[in-house]
């Protein structure tokens, strides 16, 4: 029988790259938060050992065949130090017109209490930094951290665990519905003349029957090279709904790597949308496991790259129980010499009968040197299912362009209209209107920059 592949192979790893990434740990380890907790020490040590054994993935690793981390491996990263991160910000990104509400701000991976706020949160909702949680409430996160994002087969998750220190923690108690979105702001600053790395860990626990909207902003300021190596673990309880939106607008010298693992219990819904605009090299891995019956997940996004940007979207929808529904809609726009990668896999386990899975990825190439590599995969082990995927690549429709030009619309405006319309199909997947509007204006800004 064929092996059921649920994990990425570590074949094609490069242990030689490990020491440079792990060296700074020696000075750091004792000073990291939660050093008194044995499970934290174990998790860090396992991560360190695992990464030391495999190093960065190479293109010989099937999951990384289209994304080469060679440039990353050549750099020597220093962990962010507090002094570098004291830069000030006039305006932090937000989707709230009024500008205030609950939010956590992280600068180079470190929590910044003076920029954060928990105002307006109902009683019982916990929103705090992981560093605080590890120091003051170790039991709060001990049951969840490290449970979803397995380090065995993902070297970058292992590296994240080795450096486990800070990141947002959110727990929404049973039956609580949050009225306003919670914003998580990650600012990459870095430092001139050297490369800075940080490894935030996000934990979201939405207990049974709860409902919340979380919006992540990833922005860059400063010109130093940065590596943000994010891992998020997300637990969606029975009948709970979590909308999780992310806009990534890091700077041109930023490496943005992110692994999000979500598990959805019976009747729960996990809704993820990622808009990728920034970064020199970015990779968003989303793994959504439908672990209970009648669970739903939407995993969608838009990626827009130009210059010599590289954006990788890698998703895995794991239908582990019957009656699950999954839906994926991705749209990509690739210009100049940029390259985009889409790898989407749907697994339907033998017991996951009556699964309904749908995936769509469409890419638009705007230049002669742009490239798209796509690998939409289905792995089906149950017979009574409906699964489909569609994948297309092409350029702007000449007829549509001509139609607009014939009505006196200039070339650039016409192209902008068509690109916006092309992306709209993905943007429609954002259920929350204010957030959809905010993301729309980010797209409009991107189009504007081109002109």
């Amino acid at each position: 029988m064929a092996t059921m592949t649920t994990t990425y192979s570590t074949r094609g790893a490069d242990p030689a790259t490990a020491p440079a990434f792990l060296a700074p740990l020696d000075h750091l380890r004792s000073g990291l938060p939660g050093a008194a907790l044995s499970w934290v020490r174990d998790l860090r040590e396992q991560g360190r050992e695992r990464f030391a054994a495999v190093g960065l993935p190479t293109v010989r690793n099937e999951s990384w065949r289209y994304t080469n981390l060679r440039d990353l491996g050549k750099l020597t990263f220093q962990p962010a130090v507090t002094a570098d991160s004291d830069a000030c910000f006039d305006v932090l990104p937000t989707v709230r017109p009024e500008g205030h509400g609950p939010r956590l701000v992280f600068v180079d991976g470190r929590f910044r209490a003076e920029l954060s706020s928990t105002e307006g949160l109902p009683a019982g909702v916990e929103l705090l930094s992981l560093a605080t949680a590890l120091t003051d409430h170790g039991d709060l996160v001990g049951d969840h951290i490290g449970r979803l994002a397995a380090a065995d087969d993902r070297p970058l998750v292992a590296l994240n665990s080795a450096y486990l220190a800070d990141g947002p923690v959110l727990r929404i108690p049973r039956g609580v519905a949050l009225a306003q979105p919670i914003e998580l702001v990650f600012v990459s600053v870095g430092a001139e003349g050297r490369a800075t790395s940080f490894h935030p860990r996000t934990l979201i626990v939405a207990e049974a029957g709860s409902r919340a909207v979380v919006v992540e902003h990833h922005v860059g300021c400063g010109t130093g090279t940065t590596l943000a190596n994010h891992v998020a673990e997300i637990f969606v309880g029975e009948g709970a709904t979590l909308h999780h939106y992310k806009a990534q607008r890091e700077g041109g010298a930023a490496f943005h790597l992110s692994h999000t693992a979500a598990t959805v219990a019976k009747d729960g819904c996990y809704d993820n949308f990622i808009l990728t605009l920034g970064g020199r090299l970015s990779r968003n891995e989303v793994v959504s496991t439908l672990a209970g019956t009648d669970a739903r997940t939407h995993v969608s996004g838009g990626y827009m790259v130009r210059g010599n940007q590289h954006a990788d979207t890698t998703t895995l929808i794991d239908h582990a129980q019957p009656n699950g529904t999954s839906r994926e809609v991705y749209k990509g726009v690739i210009d100049d010499t940029a390259r985009a990668v889409f790898q989407g896999k749907i697994i339907v386990r033998p017991q996951a009968q009556k699964t309904d899975g749908h995936q769509l990825n469409r890419a638009l190439l705007l230049s002669d040197t742009a490239e798209i590599d796509a690998k939409p995969e289905l792995e089906i082990h149950a017979d009574d299912v409906k699964c489909s995927h569609g994948c297309t690549a092409g350029e702007l429709d000449d007829n549509a362009l001509f139609y607009l030009r014939a009505r006196g619309i200039d070339q650039e405006t016409a192209r902008g209209l068509l690109i916006g319309a092309f992306l709209a199909e993905a943007m429609e997947e954002i259920a929350e209107e204010p957030i959809r509007e905010a993301f729309h204006s980010l797209v409009a800004g991107w189009l504007e920059e081109k002109r």
Binding site: M1, A2, T3, T5, R11, E62, P350, Q353, A363, L365, L366, S367, D368, T369, A370, E371, I372, D373, A374, K375, P376, E377, L378, E379, I380, H381, A382, D383, D384, V385, K386, C387, S388, H389, G390, C391, T392, A393, G394, E395
Partner: protein, 494 residues
């Protein structure tokens, strides 16, 4: 639904007699000792009386092969193969170069008669005979274990300048053509199984269609593995010169045995300007029994090069046999406006595993490719479509359309789709669609209501599902293939 005991019994009866080609021919054979080393390579080359350059090429390949590793990426699993535990040459004993069929061992002739393969030059195929006008004849090259035993209609084809013969004969009679094209599409360093084939290939067919000639009949090779503990390594080379056309069919069967046997073939196609090659396969190697014991490992490299402008290569395959299939008939679309097609029906039942698909490499301007793949998985079988569509920067206006559908029958089997799409030209348009479903209760009910038995209904529905592909087969094959589709799925419902 739960099957009635009598249904189960009936199904077993059908399944057990299902593989009707599982008999063995009792014939004296000339067999090389077991094992694989340079001496065996030299032995094969000497048996074939090959020129020095070919022996050197084989040895080069063998040396490369020793440094290679078996590919691990396919979604198939099997115990490691002991390459030393097989015979690499087996040939029925017969007089050197029989001049006519009368000199061929009657046991062999009987075997082909039993398989329904015409070795006498006659109008063929029951059911077509009575039809009006002349039914097109088929020229057959019959390969038995390691050698070609007969090729029909050679003289008639020669009148038109068409060369159709065993590749070992082509090496003797047309060395320049063989030397020019052998390994030009699948180089001797290509992959583990193809490289092994380069070192130890024994026979296969050679076809050359001269400029502007339309081959008047279907050309066909029938491969038969008979000897136990042998591997079959055939090599086929088809060249269609400018403006020519050829339709080629390939069939294959093997006896039922409890051991797995390796079949690692290489097929190379070359189409020059305005030439068309249509290559159809009905693969029916012994698939193993219901417990997954025995069966052929079918690890095959097939590739066509559309070298010329407006050339076309079309692959059609119906894959019902083999314990494990690892096969990706591909097209390199080099000439401007060239066309590649891949139509596939793969059916896996019981413990069969198939990892199959195609590669379409678009290099020239306005190149077009179409992929239609229909996979049906039943029993405990696992099946994967694996394909690559690659558009290189100069392939202005390239087009691809891919449709991959899977049908699952029963809850123990798997169907997987792994397409790779790589585009480096914005004017290229690529569309990929895939679906997975099961036979709907409504469709079954509709048929059952009209008095069609459940098995027949499934066969009917599956044939409908496969129609897009089966219609690409030459007519005689299509009839056979439809029956095969039905037979392969027997015992899969209930």
């Amino acid at each position: 639904m739960a099957a009635q005991p009598e249904t189960i019994e009936q199904v077993r009866a059908v399944t057990e007699q299902k593989y009707k080609y599982g008999f063995t021919t009792d014939i004296e054979s000339d067999v090389a000792p077991k094992g694989l080393n340079e001496d065996i390579v030299r032995f094969i080359s000497a048996k074939k009386n090959e020129p020095e350059w070919l022996l050197e090429w084989r040895l080069k390949a063998f040396r490369v092969w020793q440094t290679m590793e078996e590919p691990q990426w396919a979604a198939v699993s099997f115990p490691p193969i002991d390459y030393q535990d097989a015979h690499y040459y087996a040939a029925p004993k017969m007089k050197a170069g029989p001049k006519s069929l009368d000199e061929v061992d009657p046991e062999l002739l009987k075997t082909y008669a039993k398989l329904g393969i015409p070795l006498r030059e006659q109008e063929i195929l029951a059911g077509v005979e009575g039809s009006e006008g002349k039914s097109p004849a088929i020229a057959v090259d019959a390969v038995f274990d390691s050698v070609s035993v007969a090729t029909t209609f050679k003289a008639k084809l020669e009148e038109m300048g068409i060369i159709f013969c065993a590749i070992s004969e082509a090496v003797q009679k047309h060395p320049d053509l063989v030397k020019k094209y052998l390994g030009s599409v699948v180089p001797y360093t290509d992959n583990f199984y193809a490289t092994l084939n380069c070192a130890v290939f024994t026979d296969g067919s050679f076809v050359y269609i001269p400029k502007g000639v339309r081959c008047p009949m279907e050309l066909s090779t029938y491969f038969r593995i008979n000897q136990a503990n042998t591997g079959q390594f055939e090599r086929t080379l088809i060249i269609a010169d400018a403006g020519s056309y050829v339709s080629y069919l390939e069939g294959c069967t093997a006896p039922k045995r409890d051991e797995n046997q390796l079949h690692a073939a290489v097929v190379e196609l070359v189409a020059h300007d305005d030439a068309t090659i249509k290559y159809s396969t009905v693969q029916n190697w012994y698939p193993g029994n219901e417990e997954g014991v025995g069966g052929i490992y079918n690890f095959v490299t097939k590739r066509g090069a559309c070298r010329g402008k407006n050339s076309k290569i079309s692959w059609t395959q119906v894959e019902t046999g083999s314990a494990i299939t690892w096969k990706y008939p591909s097209c390199i679309l080099q000439g401007d406006n060239s066309v590649g097609e891949f139509y596939s029906v793969a059916i896996t039942n019981n413990f069969q595993q198939a990892d199959t698909g195609t590669k379409m490499i678009h290099i020239g301007k306005n190149t077009r490719s179409t992929i239609v793949s229909k996979g049906i998985s039943a029993g405990k079988a696992q099946q994967t479509y694996r394909g690559l569509v690659k558009i290189l920067p100069k392939a202005e206006g390239a087009r691809n359309h891919t449709q991959c559908d899977s049908l699952l029958i029963g809850d123990q089997c798997g169907a997987h789709t792994v397409p790779y799409i790589e585009s480096r030209n914005r004017s290229a348009r690529i569309e990929h669609e895939a679906t997975t479903a099961k036979i709907s209760e409504d469709q079954l009910f509709y048929c059952r209501q009209r008095g069609i038995s459940e098995e027949d209904a499934v066969s009917l529905i599956v044939n409908g599902f496969c129609k897009e592909v089966l219609k690409e087969l030459p007519m005689e094959f299509a009839v056979e293939a439809q029956k095969l589709v039905g037979i392969s799925l027997e015992g899969s419902v209930g």
